[in-house]
C-alpha cells in the first residue's frame, strides 16, 4: 500500500431522496488494487453510494472521480466498473453461460475467446457444468455466483459487490471469501464490497468504511477500526464492546484516570487523553480484553500496569455461552451493570471451570480501554 494511487474519489457527495439524505456529504478515496469494504446498518446508504459510483444515481451535490476524471456525465455502460447487484439481477431468459457471456458479447469478444473466459469464470465461482441451466433452475446462492461471474468476466477496473455472499451457506461463504481474496490479488482489480457481516469485512478488506444514516463515520484498516474506533457508534457496530460513560479525573502526559459511575473503581489508562478535565467521555473495553479470575481472596489480581484499586472489579457470572473456540460470560458487578467477557477455550476441558452464579474477579490492562470522545 505504499504506492497508493487513488482510483476513486468521492468529493462531498450528497444524495437526497426528497427530504431524506441517503448519503450525506461523503468524502472518500479508494486506492488502486484495494479491497475496500463498506459497512453499516441496513438503510444507511451503502447501496446508494455504490449506485452513484456505477452511474445509476446522480449525486445531488458533490463529485465522483474515477482515475481523476469527473464521471458525472458518464453513463453506466461507459464506466470501467461492474457491479454485482444486491438482488443478483441475473437475466431470467438466458442460460447461465449466456448471462456470463453477455458483457463479452457487448465488448465484441471473439466466440472462442468468449467461451474460454465464460468457462473460466464459471469454474472460478464453482459453477462448472451448469452453463446450460436457466436461472430458475438454480438456488439463490448459485444465482448470486452467476452474478459474480458475470461481472468478473469483464475484468473491470473496479468491481462493486453489494453483499455478494449473503445468500451462501457458512461453508461456501468462507470458501468464496478466500476465492475472492485470491482472485483480487491475482487480477489486481479494485474491489468495493458492501456487507452486513463485520467478520467478512474485517477478514477481507484492506480498508473499511463505516456508515451510519448516510454519514461516513470512520475509514480505517480493519485493525484500527477494531482497536481504535473513533466513536461509540463504530465501537458498538464492529464487534462486541463494554462502554462506560465517565469523566476525565486525571490527565497527565503518561497516564489518565476516568471515573465512571457504572464502575466501583477508577479506570486507569497508560496514556494521556486529549480532552478537557471533567469532560464526559467513554471508555470502550472489548470483551476479550477483560480477564476472568476465580475469586479466592479479597485482593484483586493486579496485572502490574495499573495502581492497586483500579482496573479490577468483582462480579457474579449471570450468563454463559459456549461458542466453541471461546466462551462468553456476562458478569454482574456491584451496582447492577453487566459486563461482557470473552475467554478463549485453550484446553479441551477447563481446569478453571466458571459456573453460573460464581463470584469472579475481572481485570484489564491499562492499555485496553479505548477512549471515545463522541
Amino acid at each position: 500500500m505504499s504506492q497508493a494511487k487513488p482510483i476513486i474519489t468521492f468529493e462531498n457527495v450528497t444524495k437526497r431522496f426528497g427530504k431524506l439524505a441517503a448519503v450525506d456529504d461523503v468524502s472518500l478515496t479508494v486506492n488502486e488494487g484495494e479491497f475496500f469494504a463498506l459497512l453499516g446498518p441496513s438503510g444507511c446508504g451503502k447501496t446508494t453510494l455504490l449506485r452513484m459510483l456505477a452511474g445509476f444515481e446522480v449525486p445531488t451535490e458533490g463529485r465522483i472521480l474515477i482515475d481523476g476524471q469527473d464521471v458525472s456525465n458518464t453513463p453506466p455502460n461507459k464506466r470501467p466498473i461492474n457491479m454485482v447487484f444486491q438482488s443478483y439481477a441475473v437475466f431470467p431468459h438466458m442460460t447461465v453461460a449466456d448471462n456470463v457471456a453477455y458483457g463479452l458479447v457487448v465488448d465484441k469478444v471473439a466466440k472462442a475467446e468468449r467461451d474460454r473466459r465464460v468457462e473460466e469464470a464459471l469454474s472460478l465461482v464453482q459453477l462448472d457444468g451448469l452453463g446450460g441451466r436457466k436461472p430458475d433452475q438454480l438456488s439463490g446462492g448459485q444465482r448470486q455466483r452467476v452474478a459474480l461471474a458475470r461481472a468478473l468476466v469483464k475484468r473491470p477496473r473496479v468491481l462493486l459487490l453489494d453483499e455478494p455472499l449473503s445468500a451462501l451457506d457458512a461453508k461456501l461463504r468462507a470458501q468464496m471469501r478466500t476465492e475472492l481474496c485470491t482472485l483480487q490479488e491475482k487480477v489486481g482489480i479494485t474491489f468495493i464490497m458492501v456487507t452486513h457481516d463485520q467478520d467478512e469485512a474485517l477478514a477481507l478488506a484492506s480498508r473499511c468504511a463505516v456508515m451510519n444514516k448516510g454519514v461516513l463515520q470512520q475509514v480505517a484498516s480493519p485493525n484500527d477500526l477494531y482497536e481504535f474506533p473513533s466513536s461509540r457508534f463504530v465501537a458498538d457496530f464492529i464487534g462486541q464492546v463494554n462502554l462506560f460513560e465517565g469523566v476525565l479525573a486525571v490527565d497527565e502526559q503518561d497516564h489518565a484516570v476516568i471515573r465512571a459511575p457504572d464502575l466501583p473503581v477508577d479506570l486507569f489508562l497508560d496514556h494521556g487523553v486529549t480532552g478537557a478535565r471533567g469532560a464526559t467521555l467513554w471508555a470502550a473495553i472489548r470483551p476479550e480484553k477483560i480477564e476472568l479470575h476465580k475469586k479466592t481472596g479479597e485482593t484483586p489480581p493486579n496485572l502490574g500496569d495499573a495502581p492497586a484499586g483500579t482496573n479490577a472489579v468483582a462480579g457474579v457470572i449471570r450468563h454463559e455461552a459456549y461458542l466453541g473456540g471461546s466462551s462468553t460470560y456476562e458478569v454482574e458487578i456491584a451496582g447492577g451493570r453487566r459486563i461482557k467477557v470473552q475467554r478463549s477455550n485453550l484446553t479441551r476441558w477447563d481446569q478453571e471451570d466458571f459456573a453460573l452464579g460464581e463470584t469472579v474477579w475481572l481485570c484489564w490492562h491499562a492499555c485496553s480501554p479505548a477512549v471515545l470522545l463522541s
Binding site: 456505477a54 452511474g55 445509476f56 453513463p75 453506466p76 455502460n77 466498473i81 461492474n82 457491479m83 447487484f85 438482488s87 443478483y88 439481477a89 441475473v90 437475466f91 431470467p92 431468459h93 453477455y102 458483457g103 457487448v106 465488448d107 436457466k134 436461472p135 430458475d136 452474478a147 458475470r150 461481472a151 469483464k154
Partner: protein
C-alpha cells in the same frame, strides 16, 4: 385460506351458481342454437330445418368467402402490427414516467373507452372526410405554400386536390388502429411495469447500450405481454364490424359485415351461423398459438 375454500364446498357452489346460470342462459345456450343453425337450411321465411348438412360450411370456405376471411385476417394483422409498433414505445414511456404522470397517462389511454364507439367513429369521419380537418389543414398549407411560391416568383401551385381519406381500406385500418390501440398498450404496460428494473441496470452495467438492452432484455422479458397484447388486439379486429361498415368503401368489407348481411338482408341464418363459427375457429387457433408461445417463454421475474 385456500384450504377453507376447498372445505366450504357449499358456499363455493352457491357463489358460483348465479354467474354460471347467467353464462349458460345468455351465452352457452344461444351459442349452441347458432351452432345448430349452421347445420341447417332455410325453409320458408322464418323456419329453419336442422338437417345436419355441411353445405353451409362448404359455402363458407368457397373462394368468394375465403377471400374475405383472408382479407379480414390481413387487415386485422396489419392493425395489430401497427398497434404493436405504435403501442410499444407508448407503453415503454408510461412505464418509465414519473409516478404521478403515470396515473394521468394511463387515464389518457383509457379515456376513449368512456365514449361510445359509434360516436368515436363518426368523429373520425369528421376528421377524415373531404371537407374534414385533415384536408382543411392540408389545403391551408397548400395555399400558404402557393402564396410563398408566388412571392419568390415561382409557378403557382394550382388548385388543391383534397385527399381521399375516407371510405377505403386506409380509413378502415386507421380506424381499427385508433380503436384498438388501448387494448395493445395496457397489456404491454402491465408486462413492462413488472419487469425488474435491476435487470435493465445490469445490462447497462455490463456495457450494453439502450438499444441492445431493449432488444436483448426488455423485449424478451415482455414477450408474454406482447403475446397477450397481440391476441387481445387481433381477435376483436378480426371480428370488427362497425369500423369497416362506416369508414370502409365497397371493397373493404370484413367478415363481420358479411355475417351481418346474412342474418339481416339475405335472411340466411344458417349460412351466417356457419360463417360465424368459422370465424370462431380461427379465433381459437389464434388463442392456441398464443398459449403455446406463452408456455415457451419464461416468467419475467428474477
Amino acid at each position: 385460506m385456500e384450504q377453507s375454500w376447498k372445505q366450504a364446498k357449499a358456499v363455493f357452489a352457491a357463489a358460483l351458481a348465479a354467474p354460471l346460470a347467467w353464462l349458460v342462459v345468455f351465452f352457452v345456450a344461444p351459442m349452441v342454437i347458432v351452432w345448430a343453425f349452421s347445420f341447417g337450411q332455410n325453409q320458408g321465411l322464418t323456419e329453419i330445418a336442422i338437417s345436419g348438412t355441411f353445405h353451409n360450411y362448404a359455402r363458407a370456405i368457397a373462394p368468394l368467402y375465403l377471400q374475405i376471411f383472408l382479407k379480414s385476417a390481413w387487415v386485422a394483422g396489419l392493425t395489430t402490427a401497427l398497434c404493436l409498433v405504435l403501442g410499444f414505445p407508448v407503453a415503454l414511456a408510461i412505464t418509465f414516467a414519473a409516478d404521478r404522470a403515470k396515473t394521468w397517462l394511463l387515464l389518457l389511454i383509457m379515456l376513449p373507452f368512456w365514449t361510445n364507439l359509434l360516436i368515436r367513429t363518426y368523429a373520425l369521419i369528421a376528421v377524415l372526410r373531404t371537407e374534414g380537418y385533415v384536408n382543411m389543414g392540408l389545403e391551408w398549407l397548400w395555399k400558404g405554400g402557393g402564396a410563398l411560391a408566388a412571392l419568390v416568383g415561382l409557378k403557382p401551385l394550382g388548385a388543391f386536390q383534397p385527399l381521399e381519406l375516407l371510405h377505403n381500406n386506409f380509413a378502415v385500418v386507421l380506424g381499427l388502429v385508433y380503436v384498438h390501440l388501448p387494448f395493445m398498450v395496457l397489456p404491454l404496460y402491465a408486462a413492462l411495469d413488472r419487469l425488474d428494473r435491476s435487470l435493465l441496470e445490469a445490462s447497462l452495467d455490463l456495457g450494453a447500450g439502450h438499444l441492445r438492452t431493449l432488444l436483448r432484455v426488455v423485449v424478451p422479458l415482455a414477450l408474454p405481454g406482447i403475446a397477450s397484447g397481440v391476441l387481445i388486439t387481433f381477435i376483436p379486429a378480426l371480428g370488427a364490424y362497425l369500423t369497416p361498415d362506416l369508414l370502409g368503401g365497397p371493397d373493404s368489407q370484413m367478415i363481420a359485415n358479411v355475417i351481418e348481411r346474412q342474418f339481416k338482408r339475405a335472411n340466411d341464418w344458417p349460412f351466417g351461423a356457419a360463417l360465424s363459427f368459422v370465424l370462431m375457429y380461427l379465433t381459437f387457433i389464434a388463442v392456441a398459438i398464443q398459449a403455446v408461445l406463452a408456455k415457451r417463454t419464461p416468467e419475467a421475474r428474477g
